[in-house]
Amino acid sequence: MTGPPFELRDAEIQPDARAKLTGEAVFTDDRFMPGVLWASVATSPVAYGRIESIDTSAAAAMPGVVMVATAAEIGRRRHGRRLADQPVLCWDRVLFIGDRTAVVVAETRAEAEAAAARIAVDITEEEPLLDLERVTAENAPILHPEAQSYRYSGGRRPEVPHPNVQGHATVGLGPDDIEAVFASAAHVFEEEYRTPATHAGYIEPRVCLAWNENGITRVATTNKGPFRLHQQLADTLDVDSDRLEVVSGHIGGDFGGKGQTIDEYLCVLLARSIGRPVKMAMTWAAELAQGPVRHSSLVRLRTGVTEDGRFIAHSATVLYGGGAYASAKPVPDLTLPGATSAMIAYHIPAVRIDARTLYTNSVPGGHVRAPGQSQVQFAGESHVDSIARRLGIDPYEIRTRNALGPGMRSASGLHIREPRAVEVLNAVRTVDRHPPADDGLVRGHGVALAARHVGGGEFPLRAVLSPDATFELVTGLPDQGAGAWMVMQRVFAAELSVDPERVSVRYVPTGETRPDRGIGSSRSTHLGSRAAQLLAGEVKSWLDARLAEGLELRADVFVRRDGTDSIPFAALVTADLVPDPVEFEVLYREEESEDEDHDFVALAVDVAVDERTGVVTVEQATLAVDVGAVINPTAHRGQLEGGFMFGLGEALMTQLRVRDGAVVEADRQLFRIPALADVVRLTIIELPTEVGPGAYGAKSVGELANPVVAPAIANALADATGVRVPRLPLDPESVFEALTARDGEVGARGQSGG
């Protein structure tokens, strides 16, 4: 064993921090090119309708316009991460407000946008399908009658129960006759919860720039999965994969949303056809109206409980509003990764879950931080709390009684390695409550419990050792700020026992390295750290074979085992040993395992509610997390804090209301995400383990904190007021309305009683 030159628990400074802070770091929108043209799209103002004709003549006559194109010119093409169902430009029908009908290329962005506004599309409107409960009704229009012909990557598309169902996931545990189990329960509780569409709210809008170079079309993009985009571009545009290259790099926020980008198809096509660079950028309004957005949800839960509060039977029907296209969903079954996780932290012997993503005439749904899970976690953890209150059992106690323990199977259907539900619960349970005040507000305490998977798969990584004793790690994985590059850098340095400053990370486009799946699904820390470990092992073997026997690396110094000699790393690794740069490459593959790796998390909040206004204020929050080994302490804390505030936004303010198919917030710039003034006092309790699948037992962290925030606050609101608000956000309007309804009921009862 060689000793590390630094401790992983020492706070790190992001190597790119200065470049980012001083504006030197180049983001996609910062790329300019001589002769660049701008493209802008015309979009449907109608939620559902048949295209009768598209008149581009007025647009073509506008100043600066170089080209106007419709599907008649670019071809009938569809794109999608798994199922290619979204037209690059629509030809026969439009399926949501924001669907693209034509594109204009002009000398400037303003000219392109002005001309795009002059595209005239004659659409015969039809009654849109917007109600999740009507999607599979007998008279519902079939939004994708030709779905059988859509390209599906990676095998055969799983069967769906109805053509308006995008994807379908089920879980079945326990006896065939679950109704018999429900019948044996002392109580059966049935509830319904709803969550709205939201947007990831990254600060950098999606941008792309395509240009031709040596027979290759390169596209710089804000997409976080460049290799996947590369393949989708080749498939959608019928371009030889060797003729394309995708360039990502620094991405200005992601939170799941930047796995799907939609301008690149047009941008590449237009750059190839015109022979000049073409740039496209989405406005914030376009981001919100065209998505992808977090799926709205309607969740029905039914739980059979014994007299002492044990869950014996549970069924869940989960409907997600998938919008007009399933194109943003990468998961093979076209549902969402968290779809069956409403009661993931519990053991229930009999379970039936039916989760569906549904086609509607609304903005397409995609991945946003803990996709699918944050919706059902709000429902599940509200439900558990509601059961506890109705049975008069302490909310912590009911969770502890039903918590997933070792050897048990989760109600989500999974076997989870070393579940730590009780540990995280106990950690927040013992924290002092916020003191009351005599200020006219009512106060309450709420808790929520969850588990979040650690992603896996395979991951390539390359290192180059230079004669000046420095290493460069070469990766095609973009940087969206969560710290994946630092994970690789620090683990590689720690494993080799060299100074991390010796190790830099270089991002390369898709043409220059082996494919990876990009950032996402809470897998980067796991995969990046293990690949770095493996790679460091290769380098160690190489050095061992070339250095005098008995030398070992310790803290950037080669030391003789008998302690008699020490030589700085840079003094031995010189041009004599390394005359030319040496390359090392590994492909890390996750080991197959019966058990799934998850992090457990509990959040306790104290809220104050102003019953006159419906304003809910979180006075303090305590987050306990089962973290595994921490590799980047600063970034790790940042993910938890950022995740908490992300969840706070979705709990209290963030929403996209869709009215008649139109996103209200897109028109009015009303979309709200938390500002600094919304920050609340947060204490984080870390419960480390060494059982994670990453290096040293590292786990994931990025999607851990946000799903528990809304249910914890809803539960505290119920504790404070007796009112359960079964929908998000818990904004003053909703809370006030619920309080008014409560007071109305009390008043009515009072009257009839008197």
């Binding site: 921090a17 980012k20 950028a281 914030w284 700020g481």
Partner: protein
């Protein structure tokens, strides 16, 4: 660097353009700008100062924060023509000439006040403006008054720490 970009006539091909003179990052420049050209477009598209980031485009996010005559301004809201006779400082200029800029940058880096980095130059500009007004701020002042810039990554905790850390370092500086 402004010598090569300083003449703006070629970027005002249509409509009425106005001749303006301003001090940009310490250098006197003259530009012919159309009436609808925004400061952010002048800076990014024509002068090549891309540290001023194009975020929401509607004055909400603060990613395009610059100092105009020492006051914090969203460059996406200001027509360039209004800058005649003004002094504009962007992140690129601040890092060269503002006495507090390097300290603020170092404090943000050390406190983890930067993740994806897209809002970061705007946060630095906002911090320079804030620390100019409050040289020894406490946490409550930061929470109450440092509220012009959105960040989606950090949840703001490390940004609050960064601003306080910067204030401390500036106070300790000789």
């Amino acid at each position: 660097m402004f010598g090569e970009h300083g003449i703006m006539s070629e970027v005002a091909p249509r409509g009425t353009s106005h001749s303006i003179e301003l001090v940009l990052n310490g250098a006197q420049i003259r530009a012919d700008v159309p009436a609808d050209l925004l400061l952010i477009q002048l800076l990014r598209d024509h002068v090549g100062l891309t540290g001023t980031k194009n975020g929401c485009g509607v004055g909400v996010c603060g990613s395009c924060s610059v100092l105009v005559d020492g006051r914090l301004v969203s460059a996406c809201l200001v027509p360039a023509v209004q800058l005649n006779g003004r002094n504009v400082m962007t992140i690129e200029g601040a890092i060269r000439v503002h006495p507090a800029a390097e300290t603020v940058v170092a404090a943000f880096a050390a406190s983890g006040g930067v993740q994806c980095g897209f809002c970061s130059p705007g946060q630095v500009m906002a911090a320079l403006d804030f620390l100019d007004r409050y040289s020894t701020p406490d946490r409550a002042t930061v929470l109450g008054e440092f509220d012009a810039n959105l960040c989606r990554c950090t949840g703001y905790y490390s940004i609050i720490e960064s601003v306080l850390e910067a204030a401390g370092r500036l106070a300790d500086a000789p």
